[in-house]
Amino acid sequence: MGGFAIALQPLNLGLALGGVLVGTFVGMLPGIGPINAIAILIPVTFATGIPPESALILLVGIYYGSQYGNSISTILLNVPGTASAVVTALDGYEMTKQGRGGPALAMSAISSFVGGTLSIFALVLFAPVLAEWAIRFGPAEYFALMIFAFSALSSFSGGSLVRGLVSTALGLGLATVGLDPNSAVPRYTFGQIELLDGMDFVVVTIGLFAVSEVLQLLEDTKGGQQTAAAYGRVMISAKELAGTTWTMLRSSGLGFLVGVLPGAGSTIASFLAYSTEERIAGTSGRFGQGDIRGVAAPEAANNAAANGAMIPLLTLGVPGSGTTAVLLGALLGFGVTPGPLLIQEQPDLFWGLAASMYVGNVFLLLLNLPLVGVFVKALTLPRWFLIPGVAALAFVAVYAVNGSSFDLMLMTMFGVVGYLMRKMDFPLAPVVLGLVLGPLMEKNLRRAMSLSGGEVNVLFESPIAITLWALALASLAAPTLLRMWTRDVVAEVDAAVPTGVPDEL
């Protein structure tokens, strides 16, 4: 409660509002993430001399605020702003094409709020316990977690497992480009200094999704001035909301747990939440064809994961992502030493921050819901304006990452690749999954091997690892079992119908 006394001070309230506003807007622009906004504001907060908790309320506000913004361009334009929003594109953009862009955006805001708020409760209640749990994740456990994440693959393969595997292999292949993570030896760089750091996620994703979307739109338009996509009601219906309650709750929990693990992060959280929900929905779901649960699951999960990542940051001093690494720098700069003692030694900071995150999430919901009406209007833009607009956005976003024209060429190439893949019905999301998970999987496998001196058994030794392997197997087997079960039911129903009746007609 003492936390709210701090969070509700006018200055802190204003900073929380300012932070989430900035966060929403930088999150909206693909490629221009919260990391830069925070890095630029850190020296400003030092200079103004505001107390550390106030500065953190502002900076952390930008961080979680951006998790709300990142789904907007994803849903409306099929341009994922961050890796964690890629899954949202699957059903979110599909809904937009069906004229349900408004409900998709509203769903995204609401599930972000649910994921964000629930995870703050969990953060406050379980921070010390969960930090201990996260420490027990070693390389072998991370490797098993990655395998579990890959078992989500069949969800994104659009029906054909072979095509999904080909796409994943492409992503994994791309992930090997750059400096070897262990020995820093260049791999597949062909002497290009720009490739030493590997394929940047933003470059590949914007190319695959946005540029190929532009090519597709051009083809559809065939030079004529087609009118813009129609959109129906802007607000979400009570029925849609009720149907996603459990999805949001489950995804928040899952997302939070994955977020607590440094090095796993919100991308894996969103992929796992989506595939879990698809499994649970079974045949009642229309995932991939505009199912609103396909928006609710990843958005709740990636917000919960973002907040979960505050636990290792504050109690271990371990940043799980680029943005939290910058936040760590800010903490140190304010003389706050992250560690197990932080909550006891700096109660004002911890509780004030937690309370302000709660308040900030309320601000974000109040801010984002009315904005839905504004953003869907973008869809009424005529195509001759929208298509060049998306293309321009793509180029600016990619150039902003490294300021390199080489990246622009790479992005254009991936645009063509993405277009061809669409034509041949290859799913695009597994490429991103492979690209994001590939390096993590490789690094952790190699770490596990060098820790054990080459003993493969180490991968299956701990209870956590065994559980994750079992989950991965179960999740691979689930669709087959489900199909067998439903077939039995269908057979029984068939059997129950008296045979011969049709003959008598």
Binding site: P340, V396, A400
Partner: protein
């Protein structure tokens, strides 16, 4: 032929528009007609080089040494290689830019990771602060001093695993190898596992997956205060300021080794002596100012101050040392 140049006013406006839009991520890229000063951080926002640029740039502006604000531009890639190559190839004579550097830059130069470029392609102006390397073990580990650890290492080198936040042959690896080498242990027998940054490497120690953590002093303070980590040795020339003041240095323990993670700068190679001397003078004024002393403490840097020819010689000796070391343990040929 009528080719009309864009109206200056419009051009200025469009530049500022672009600057505002891209500025979020790239620092402001508006042209400055050769007047403004720039600090190039060869990594993304938030890293050590970025903080070096921002904090020093701030002090330079505050002291009124620069025309206007010193802007920080992030040019990430190839562990500083992109910035190094671009400085040499495209900005060889640019007198308005300084580039942030650290031993990581030197290590990569020594190992030939910047291609054909070497340490003589740029000029080194100075360093304003430093962090020092440390080795830490878990609080419940059997080793209480560096001697204990070295004894264990001598009797069975393969039984100990070290974690660190840099790749093989990177800073955290090299400091352990250097220590082992000077203590008479064959560096090739040291087992090192790289993690993504010091935080993850330290977590691996807390989780019991490795035995020793090789990192920087600032990375371990929180866990040391909580009594979960024990720092066995500080690789500083003298005892450090602050919470780790009770930790003995390697030199005290009889092993002559230091690891200085200095934060400094280089400038393009062809700017001429006059411009070089001007930059050295500016760093000296910054280093002597109370404003820098405060900024240094905020950034948790220990005192370390070296400029001009002295620094240049220091860097070149470091390149030679690192190169010999890397060759000796078979990291490069």
């Amino acid at each position: 032929m009528k080719t009309r140049a864009p109206r200056p006013k419009f051009r200025r406006a469009s530049q500022w528009f672009l600057c505002g839009f891209l500025g979020w991520s790239m620092g402001c890229s508006a042209p400055t007609d050769g007047r403004g000063w720039e600090c190039l951080a060869p990594a993304n926002a938030g890293g050590g080089w970025d903080l070096t640029c921002r904090s020093v740039g701030q002090v330079v502006s505050d002291l009124g040494l620069s025309p206007g604000l010193v802007r920080t531009t992030n040019l990430p890639g190839a562990g500083g290689g992109v910035a190094y190559a671009r400085t040499v190839a495209q900005r060889g004579g640019d007198t308005n830019v300084i580039i942030a550097a650290s031993p990581s830059t030197v290590l990569r130069l020594a190992q030939g990771q910047y291609g054909s470029l070497d340490e003589d392609d740029v000029r080194w102006i100075g360093a304003l602060g430093a962090e020092y390397g440390i080795l830490a073990v878990a609080a419940d580990s059997p080793w209480n001093t560096l001697d204990d650890l070295l004894a264990a290492w001598r009797s069975d080198p393969a039984s100990l695993v070290v974690s660190g936040g840099s790749a093989v042959a990177g800073q955290d690896h090299m400091k352990v190898l250097l220590l082992a080498h000077r203590a008479g242990i064959d560096p090739r027998l040291i087992r090192y596992v790289p993690f993504d940054g010091g935080g993850e490497a330290m977590t691996a120690l807390l989780g019991g997956f490795v035995h020793v953590f090789s990192g920087e002093a600032s990375e371990v303070e929180g866990q040391v205060a909580a009594g979960r980590l024990r720092v066995l040795v500080a690789l500083s020339p003298e005892r450090m300021e602050g919470t780790l003041a009770s930790v003995p240095t390697a030199i005290e323990s009889g092993v002559d080794v230091t690891w200085v993670t200095w934060r400094g700068f280089y400038v393009p190679g062809e700017i001429g002596d006059e411009a070089y001397d001007r930059w050295v003078d500016i760093l000296r004024q910054v280093g002597a100012s109370p404003a820098w002393d405060e900024a240094r403490r905020t950034n948790r840097l220990q005192p370390f101050f070296m400029t001009g020819e002295e620094f240049s010689t220091f860097v070149k000796n470091q390149v030679t040392d690192f190169r010999e070391m890397s060759r000796e343990i078979g990291l490069i040929r």
